[in-house]
């Protein structure tokens, strides 16, 4: 806490905090205001007498209704949900086992394999989508959810593995040794002792993986083409921007509704999530 005179608290704590909150929340506010603003206000020129960019006096749910009835938004939501959930589960499963092996088992080149996995995570998606497009075409997976369910793990598994490795390392190995002396096999010690303790880490990895695949854009843009297969980020931007016409109300309504599941997941697990990032098990 900031100590000393009252002005110090304001200058070094309250005001910076306030600025920070405003900067973080303003885009959401803008999104909400725009999505409930009627069209005639949206396209009113900035120098008009009754121009009110930061609020609206005639809120309407028209854009949300249009979004849900006149576009495939609900289909996109379902697609995104399916793809994000499936690829998160696959990545978590692989990341959990790989992270455990790399942090606990002694085998040749364990360290370099760990580093190798991390390096694959650093290869930018903007490069990787080109060869991956070829792979997707060869396996005839294009324009289907599988194209994304199977390609998202290429960046999610390294991510989950790396995060879980760090978390497993923070769990004292004596716990597992004790379990093994107590009569558990390595597998049972892992399932009954290590995984339950690692729940905060697993949740963090899961939330991150879910968010990354929910927001993913490039792969979804390249591998999916028909409107009914698209995910929310791609659907909203490709179907609601026609030529140079931006359907701002619907765009913002789509962005708003699209961010709700992620916000929900975060708020639900936030406590575990924080303890997962700060790590460590207190015995």
């Amino acid at each position: 806490m900031i100590e000393g005179a009252r002005w110090r608290r304001w200058v070094f704590f309250n005001i910076p905090l306030l600025l920070f909150i405003v900067a973080l929340l303003f885009p959401f506010y803008w999104m909400i205001v725009t999505s409930v603003r009627p069209d005639k206000e949206l396209y009113r020129p900035w120098n008009a007498a009754n121009y009110t960019p930061f609020w609206t006096l005639n809120p309407t749910l028209e854009h949300i209704r249009e979004l849900l009835t006149e576009t495939l938004f609900s289909t996109w939501m379902m697609n995104t949900m399916l793809i994000a959930t499936a690829s998160t589960l696959i990545s978590l499963f692989c990341g959990l086992l790989a992270g455990y092996a790399l942090s606990r088992l002694k085998f040749p080149f364990a360290g370099s394999i760990g580093t190798g996995i991390f390096i694959t995570y650093l290869v930018p998606q903007t490069l990787l989508f080109i060869p991956l497009a070829d792979v997707i075409r060869n396996f005839h997976l294009g324009d289907s959810p599988w194209a994304l369910i199977l390609t998202y793990p290429t960046f999610l598994i390294p991510f989950c593995t790396w995060l879980m490795m760090g978390y497993f390392k923070s769990i004292p190995k004596e716990l597992e040794e004790c379990a093994r002396i107590d009569g558990a096999t390595r597998w049972k010690a892992m399932v009954y002792i290590i995984f339950p303790i690692a729940v905060p880490g697993i949740l963090s990895a899961g939330i991150f993986a879910f968010t990354l695949s929910w927001n993913e854009f490039i792969y979804a843009l390249v591998f999916l083409s028909s409107p009914e297969q698209k995910t929310v980020p791609v659907g909203v931007t490709s179907e609601l921007v026609r030529g140079d016409v931006f359907y701002w109300g619907q765009l913002m309504a789509g962005a708003l509704l699209g961010s709700i599941p992620v916000a929900f997941v975060y708020s639900f697990f936030v406590e575990h999530y924080v303890s997962g990032i700060t790590g460590s098990v207190k015995g």
């Binding site: 040794e177 049972k188 207190k282």
Partner: protein, 363 residues
């Protein structure tokens, strides 16, 4: 109930030779303590007995059965770790029951054993709590409870009291001793604390740099240390050492050093004879020095100047300057010595130690 035999045990980590040719026979119901400074290989030896470290060469036998390749779970041992290693997500009851559940015991049997163990250790009231809601001493008891419910053949303790504060440590030490009396299970205990080793062990194994230095009951180690290291490690405050030269005068052997001139007792005549004219290390424990009047014969005493007075209550420790070195004398609490006082300290002739200066072995 079991005996443990360790035969030519070696452990190599890459190019570090951590445990060197350890041989040890632990009898049924015996409490053996491995003691030594950190990095001496004591914990590694224990972990090899537990099956948590692979054995580079040698054999470990429990009840005449070679266990080298048995998994930890198949060795029928229980181990208590320094950090307790309690499962943080389980209640105390579940912590203690885990081993029995893994071994598929009847539910009623599990309940009975956990209750019994909890009663022995006085933790019945905490069975529903999680480990993080317990104090250090309580956690330690749970860790012990988890070991004893299994009725294993051998208990292994890896510095179990190191994380407790001094007072609790003494208390738990006594309880461990009682517990061992009561259960009579063979136990191997690792510690770096020589007081713990002396008070708990039926026999004590002193290790250093992977080698076993000496094996013996506590008083044997104290009274007849096999070498300079054991002599210095066992006993608190530590034994005083001084380099002296053995000289022969008028048929008697004398140990002569800076500020020291002592007549070697007749018992040493034979063993010290060959060292005549050579340097050896002379050792005397602080409690074997006593203040005498200046009129006392000088041949069995040392003249010293008091540098520091440490009043411990039950005794007083005097740090005294003897020539260029400092020695410690443990004297009666009634002694009124002040800094810079000149004292004459008589040595107990039956309690002198001499060590070969190169091989460091006792003479």
């Amino acid at each position: 109930m079991a005996q443990v035999a360790i035969r030519n045990l070696n452990k190599m980590y890459d190019d570090v030779h951590a445990v060197k040719d350890v041989n040890l026979d632990i009898r049924d119901k015996e409490f053996v303590v491995l003691v030594g400074p950190s990095g001496c290989g004591k914990t590694t030896t224990l972990r090899m007995v537990a099956g948590l470290e692979s054995i580079t060469s040698g054999r470990i036998l429990i009840d005449d059965q070679v266990v080298n390749d048995l998994a930890p779970m198949d060795r029928d041992i229980a181990m208590v770790f320094q950090n307790y290693a309690l499962y943080p997500h389980m209640s105390v009851y579940d912590n203690m029951a885990f081993g029995l559940k893994m071994r598929k015991f009847e539910k009623s049997e599990i309940q009975k054993r956990v209750q019994d163990a909890a009663e022995i250790l006085g933790i019945q009231d905490y069975l529903k709590r999680k480990p993080r809601q317990l104090s250090g001493g309580q956690r330690q008891r749970v860790a012990l409870g988890r070991a004893i419910v299994r009725h294993p053949r051998v208990f292994l303790f890896d510095e179990p009291l190191s994380n407790l504060d001094a007072k609790l440590r003494v208390q738990m030490r006594v309880e461990l001793k009682k517990l061992h009396e009561r259960l009579g299970t063979t136990a191997i205990y690792v510690t770096h604390d020589q007081v713990e080793a002396m008070t708990l062990g039926d026999r004590v194994v002193v290790m250093r740099d992977g080698w076993v230095q000496q094996v013996g009951d506590p008083m044997e180690l104290y009274n007849e240390p096999a070498n300079l290291f054991v002599a210095g490690f066992i006993g608190s405050p530590a034994m005083n050492f001084a380099t002296v030269r053995i000289t022969a005068e008028n048929g008697d052997l004398w140990a002569v050093g800076d500020g020291i001139r002592l007549k070697a007792p007749a018992a040493f005549a034979n063993s010290l004879g060959p060292y005549t004219g050579k340097e050896v290390v002379f050792g005397i424990r602080p409690e074997n020095l006593r203040i005498v009047p200046d009129t006392d014969p000088a041949e069995m005493s040392i003249d010293a100047i008091v540098e520091v007075v440490e009043r411990l209550g039950s005794e007083i420790l005097l740090d005294v300057a003897v020539g260029p070195i400092t020695m410690v004398a443990a004297v009666e609490p009634t002694v009124r010595a002040k800094v810079h006082d000149r004292l004459r300290l008589a040595v107990n002739p039956d309690r002198l130690h001499f060590f070969d200066i190169e091989r460091e072995t006792a003479i």
